[in-house]
Amino acid sequence: MGLEGIGARVVRKEDKRFITGRGKYTDDIVLKDTTHGVFVRSPHAHAKILSIDTAAALAAPGVIAVLTGADLAGDRIGGLICGWMIHSRDGSPMKAGAHPAIAHDRVRHVGDQVALVIAETKAEARDAAELVEVEYETLPAVVDPAHAMDADAPQLHDVAPNNLIFDWVLGDEAATDAAFANAAHVVELDIINNRLSPNPMEPRSAIGYYDPSEEHYDLYTTSQNPHVARLVLSAFIGIAPEHKLRVVAPDVGGGFGAKIYIYPEETACLWASKRIGGRPVKWTSERAEAFLTDCHGRDHVTKAKLALAADGTFLALRSDTIANIGAYMSTFSSATPTYLHGTLLSGQYVIPAIFTNVKAVYTNTTPVDAYRGAGRPEATFIVERLVETAARQLGMDPAELRRKNFIRSFPYQTPVILTYDAGDFEGNLDKALAAVDYAGFAARKAEAKARGKLRGIGFSSYIEACGIAPSQAVGSLGSGVGLWESAEVRVNPVGSVEILTGSHSHGQGHETTFAQLVNERLGIGMENIQIVHGDTDKVQFGMGTYGSRSGAVGMSAIVKALDKVEAKAKKIAAHLMEASEADIVMEGGELKVAGTDKKLPFFQVALAAYTAHNLPAGMEPGLKEGAFYDPTNFTYPAGTYICEVEVDPDTGKVEIVQFVAVDDFGRIINPMIVEGQVHGGLAQGIGQALMEGVSYDPQSGQLLTGSYMDYCMPRADDVPSFKVDHVTTLCPGNPLGMKGCGEAGAIGSPPAVINAITDAIGNNNLSMPATPAKVWAAVHAA
């Protein structure tokens, strides 16, 4: 490992602009003649739009246009799409209702777009938005997924009777039921996986700009995947042909899934720019709008059970879930509760029979889609709560029950599609047990009791599947796109390098880790490497960043391109040094003839490639190579998390006194950045477990958690310093042996926290978020 190469703790190249206030986020961009858009939004969860009167708004100062769903339909702009087809158990395709960017005849959740007011200033647009008169006929609303399929529930979309989008199954139901029938022990749980608001700190923002002279569109947007946005806006929504649309995602202030999707607002701004004759239209979300319109995450209602033999051997697992999709199907909403969820129900364990049924339903709520972890936190919560509960029911140590059932040989084919390729689950557990001082827990519990505090410990041995994914495999499962990644390595004549990547960094530090890879391979200093991303005019194509895929998939594409660059450089070097190509080795930024003192610095080879004065016969000039990498499998990060809490029985307040995370991410490029990813994921998982939860009024469908006054974000004094460590088994499926690290923290931590609290209070009946009020009630119900 060099000072800046793979494995080094390199400080981030991108930091300087952020710490000096010179980051460039979408809202920071001011194009000439920019206009400002403000959306009129539905105050009702469910209503018919009877009429819209825009006259007063149009007459207000500064107003340029007031656009409605009728205008959108008149321009034949298509609706938003869900890009992953799921089939029900009866073979029928999912039932996706129409999703216009601006509602036309009906609104289906509070915050649904009804009109777009465009004015010279944002204040004027907002003033005028209040003058748009919308006449509604309100309809009854349903927000609770458990009641969405009730006979008398209000219906959201005609295409989806009983609000049922799909009724999906995975696994062998007969074998599973048979195993339960013969099991010595059955453990059952009712689980609500609470609805969350992702809350990247940068609110979404978009600037649409149509240049009439070129008939060309630019969209600046807070996106995790600008190329996919361009594809959807072109091919499906039909605003512009792909070659006439440039999408730029500049600095993006966090995503966590919420910025994967193609949203109504950016669609409307892009379209509106042409409508008003080619002035830029800018919209920036307020936080209140973000709570109403950024896709939410989770929101599952599940019945789950685990069958065990008398000695604690796992026999079977079954879960039946209702997944809330919200009012419309967002871009990847169907994949999250199905293939990203049901496939993980084997956890780290040998479970011979598994069956799951997921019914996805519409409700009058904000659309739900992938949020950090996406389906895998829900699966992990089911498995790890069942296992911990089983240990308690059987009187076994929770660590030892896990150890007894761990998968130990690889590859391991689970009963739910996935083939785990590598792992050391026992190694993770042992390292975590040592770090937490498990042996000393009893004494710590006794000491806490003397202070009037209830101390508990909880485990979570998670596994997840990320680095999505082999294109052929996801295609066969319903994905509308392939999930490869592309990269281009441009070596300049002076030997400096630009890497163009289809991955997108919105906090992950790609400008540093990707450069470390180049440094390792080509021996070039970090200052001579530039990572280019987030602009469809610069990068040919890419699938973006989500599902912990930038390392395992994005960097693998760079490796492939670097391989080609290296091969060509070696050919040129061999030619120049009159040596055999097979004898050329590349190290420390030099190409050397093995066994001799002949060598050439890399930059001279680069220069030779561009002067082209003396190249091997028939070789094209230049040194620039591109590659597409399609993964052969998911990667399988796994780990054990242990949480230790103290509960104040008088107030129900939970303090996390210790949190240990041991993860196996395979090859780590930059430990500092990987640890940072874990820390952030843990805080989000702890947030889900202890404090975060989107809440709607069950009758009116009004959002009750519409600001940080009511939606509880983890703050610095809510979380501890974390003890983070690693076990390493290399992923055999990609050239660097990497596994994804972006989501693990959020996937593994919630069950550890809830297991710890329920251990402390001696009451296993506790739902997330475990707020002080709920914990207090549970303490006193125990």
Binding site: V11, R12, E14, D15, K16, R17, F18, I19, T20, G21, R22, G23, K24, Y25, D27, D28, V30, A123, N199, P200, M201, E202, P203, D251, V252, G253, G254, F256, E286, R287, A288, H506, G507, Q508, G509, M672, I673, E675, G676, H679, G680, G681, L682, A683, Q684, S707, Y708, M709, M713, P714, R715, A716, D717, V719, S721, F722, G745
Partner: protein, 162 residues
Amino acid sequence: MATISLTVNGKAVSATVEDRTLLVQYLRETLGLTGTHVGCDTSQCGACVVHVDGKAVKACTMLAAQADGTTVLTIEGLATGDQLHPVQAAFREHHGLQCGFCTPGMIMAAVDMINRHGGPLDEATIRHELEGNICRCTGYHNIVKAIEAASAEMAGLRQAAE
């Protein structure tokens, strides 16, 4: 309309703004100082923290008119030329930022916190003092480490200067 004159990052500026203009709007939209961010509407996230007359305030919860006659320091004015402020340097050294959006407010809050307390700060104090700043990326772990380190370094610098 209100006519205001103030000093921003060492430069005298004046402008005529709508009375309803927030300080953060004036900084971002009129002066182009886009390092100060807006992350919420309810005065909680702290992405907009700047110093007014040497004290950390939320620029989204103050009218530009109220800032008339004051001295304002934003993230853009914190470094001295190419010389980063010790808190800026510590955030980079300790990976106290990921997406960077909350970072300007975090750094301005940290500088204020260290100035008020003097001396090296412990973890509990730092976590409590960060009550008005929300970060979604870092889990706060490395922000706390960065401020710990910067507070120790600044205390050392003060001592050396005395």
